[in-house]
């Protein structure tokens, strides 16, 4: 009612302001991608950035299914992997025939590969959503991964198919041998794909995908066939997964059956879910975090898989909206100006929570290294796994942290309620 009273000029102004901030975000992202390797120029960071870029496209493509259409897939790596294989074969073919196709066009081939597979099997797969789809995707994933070891002439057995990315025609003097050039190629495709996938959510199809996710039954009564919607979503997800696969093939110059396997499918599910499937940018955060953890955690601890599991369980239990969900929860508070009410309670809660986390880490590492006898280095303090002092410290942190954290988090909830009430009164929260 009150909206109707706002003069139209104000509405346009508001719209153009939001449009400006919208394009601003993309421009900043593009600029960041360009500048990033100039700031962190070591080979290690370049490798990490390249992998993160690929993971972002892959996770976003997965979210077309999970977050936007409500399809839980356990076999998304199939399209990713097939895209990778097709890209490798395309690179080899282009190189041997001297076709005038530069390397940056290759991911498109991967995308087409991923999409072609989706077109082929998608119609029967997407007939139903829910558990049936999840199980079919699991089955198809296993089937394709296993078949790839049988069809050796295409998939090269378990050693895979290799290629040489520098054997294609150079583009503006770029041979794509050095990692920095590959990084920019990946960054270019990250930008293109992210914009395309975002645009997709703003189309009639994208909106109806959401509707199918929320309520497939009702969609039938506003003129749409949810099966067709799911099928189309599956194709687009396959296309972008294929692009990610193609980029991986360029980055590693090899495609093998591990690309198609359950581990890849599981990782992308982790990324999307941890980042948060309800918001477009959620999987981006998830992809960054998971890839980073994967690269970093494995060299710090041998039981990285346990930490992965624990982080995942915590997210599912305490923040099912993922990181993006947590962030966006605060938006109405920021707009209502009541964030200040919650922050002190956060700071108070952070201390025992951190203690609890340290306790968990110390306990895990103590158990993990008990037989090995290595010292644990936590925050620069060495702990011997076999020393009773370590056990006591771990126990105190664990139990004490837990008990105090429980109290402080209740405080957080109370502060939240107060802040939310104010925000609601000011009309920023429904």
């Amino acid at each position: 009612m009150s909206n109707a009273a706002i003069p139209t000029s104000a509405a346009t102004k508001e719209e153009s302001a939001s449009a400006l901030s919208f394009y601003g975000i993309w421009l900043i992202a593009a600029a960041a991608l360009v500048v990033l390797p100039l700031i962190f120029s070591s080979g290690g960071s370049l490798t990490s950035f390249s992998l993160i870029g690929i993971a972002i496209i892959f996770a976003l493509s997965y979210n077309i299914l999970l977050g936007q259409t409500g399809l839980l897939s356990f076999g998304h790596a199939v399209q990713y992997g097939l895209g990778g294989f097709l890209a490798v074969h395309a690179m080899n073919a282009v190189a041997s025939h001297n076709w005038p196709i530069p390397l940056p066009a290759i991911p498109l081939v991967g995308g087409i590969g991923g999409m072609a597979f989706a077109v082929l099997v998608g119609w029967v797969m997407t007939k139903r959503a829910g558990t049936v789809f999840a199980m079919i995707s699991l089955g198809i994933g296993e089937l394709v991964a296993s078949s790839s070891l049988i069809l050796r002439s295409v998939f090269g057995g378990e050693s895979g198919v290799t290629t040489d990315r520098t054997s294609l025609m150079p583009l503006f003097g770029w041979t794509f041998g050095p990692q920095i050039q590959v990084y920019y190629l990946i960054a270019f495709w990250v930008m293109i794909s992210a914009i395309a996938m975002y645009a997709l959510t703003r189309t009639p199809l994208g909106r109806i995908c959401n509707a199918v996710r929320d309520n497939p039954e009702r969609v039938e009564f506003i003129g749409y066939d949810p099966h067709v919607v799911r099928y189309l979503a599956y194709m687009f997800a396959g296309f972008f997964a294929g692009i990610a696969g193609g980029l991986t093939a360029i980055n590693f110059e090899i495609a093998n059956s591990a690309y198609l396997g359950a581990t890849q499918s599981g990782l992308v599910l982790f990324s999307a879910f941890i980042g948060g499937t309800a918001y477009f940018f959620g999987p981006i955060l998830g992809a960054i975090l998971v890839t980073y953890l994967q690269l970093g955690l494995t060299s710090v601890t041998s039981v990285w898989q346990l930490y992965f599991g624990i982080i995942f369980i915590c997210i599912v239990m305490f923040a099912p909206g993922g990181i993006a969900g947590i962030l966006m929860k605060h938006r109405p508070l920021i707009r209502a100006g009541t964030l200040g009410t919650v922050i002190p309670s956060y700071l108070v809660a952070a201390i025992p929570t951190l203690a609890l986390a340290l306790g968990i880490i110390l306990t895990i590492e103590t158990v993990a290294r008990f037989s090995g006898g290595d010292a644990i280095n936590l925050l620069g303090i060495p702990f011997a796994a076999t020393a009773p002092t370590t056990w006591v410290t771990a126990a105190v942190l664990l139990v004490g942290g837990f008990l105090v954290a429980r109290i402080t988090w209740r405080r957080v909830a109370e502060a939240w309620d107060r802040a939310a009430t104010v925000a609601r009164d000011r009309g920023y929260l429904a």
């Binding site: 909206n3 703003r202 189309t203 506003i222 003129g223 189309l232």
Partner: protein
């Protein structure tokens, strides 16, 4: 003139239980038609049959003269029939605005388009805004539908149903669970929104039924025992015996 809805000798069984027997119903174009009957008479099943939610065991249903029995709900919807649900059935995680807009998209011809920006389609925008105004939810446009109050959700449900511009609107107990004031508002809303269209309504509130309907059909045990104007129904002894009698006394 062909009827908007023509149901001929439709039967529906679930397993051995026959829910609908020899159902015959005719709704003329532009008519406001109410279906009443005691609980368990098969009113919702009748709705589900006509809208394609379930398929008849035998018999035939026509929409504007065209046979629609056996078609899927979206096919029937595209032929100009839209229905609401007794239990609120909206897109809970999407905003009010998006709920209505989704319902507008097919009718405005955008279908599965993935090359158009949905935010810049003028006719979609205009139509959605109109509907929101009509159902008095403009001020709640950015609220997720799942967070609306019950009455608001019922209004949104009606909004989604009429948004596509279908010529035949079917409303399943649109005022169920509403307060007196809310009901009055809803009736006015329904009256306005279905102006010039065919309306089929299932309702328990007799004041709504008799105030709104041009014609009434009485359904008992899956069979229509009487059909006529409100006056005819009031005076029909069979109806009194089977239904109204019990309730009035």
């Amino acid at each position: 003139m062909t009827a908007a809805i023509q149901v001929n000798a439709v039967e529906k069984s679930f397993g051995n239980v026959q829910i609908i027997r020899d159902l015959n119903l005719s709704v003329a174009k532009g008519e406001r038609h109410a279906i009443i009957g005691p609980n368990g008479a098969g009113k919702s099943t009748t709705f589900n049959l006509i809208s394609g939610h379930i398929k008849p065991t035998s018999g035939e249903i026509r929409l504007n003269g065209e046979v629609t029995s056996g078609l899927r709900p979206f096919e029937i919807n595209r032929r100009g029939l839209s229905r609401s649900f007794q239990v609120t059935n909206v897109f809970a995680h999407m905003t009010v605005w998006e709920n209505v807009r989704c319902a507008v998209l097919w009718a405005t011809g955008h279908r599965y388009a993935f090359w158009k920006n949905v935010d810049t389609l003028p006719e979609v925008k205009q139509r959605t805004a109109e509907i929101l105004d009509d159902i008095h939810l403009s001020h709640r446009r950015d609220v997720p539908a799942g967070l609306l109050t019950y009455a608001e959700q019922r209004e949104l449900e009606i909004g989604i149903t009429v948004a596509g511009g279908a010529s035949v609107i079917m409303l399943d107990e649109p005022t169920a669970g509403m307060s007196h004031a809310e009901t009055e508002r809803a009736v006015a809303l329904i009256r306005r929104l279905t102006e010039g269209r065919t309306l089929v309504i299932v309702e328990h509130d007799m004041s709504v039924v008799f105030g709104l309907a041009d014609r009434i059909s009485v359904l008992v045990y899956g069979h229509i025992i009487a059909s006529g104007t409100p006056e005819e129904i009031r005076g029909n002894p069979k109806v009194k015996e089977a239904y109204l009698g019990e309730e009035v006394d």
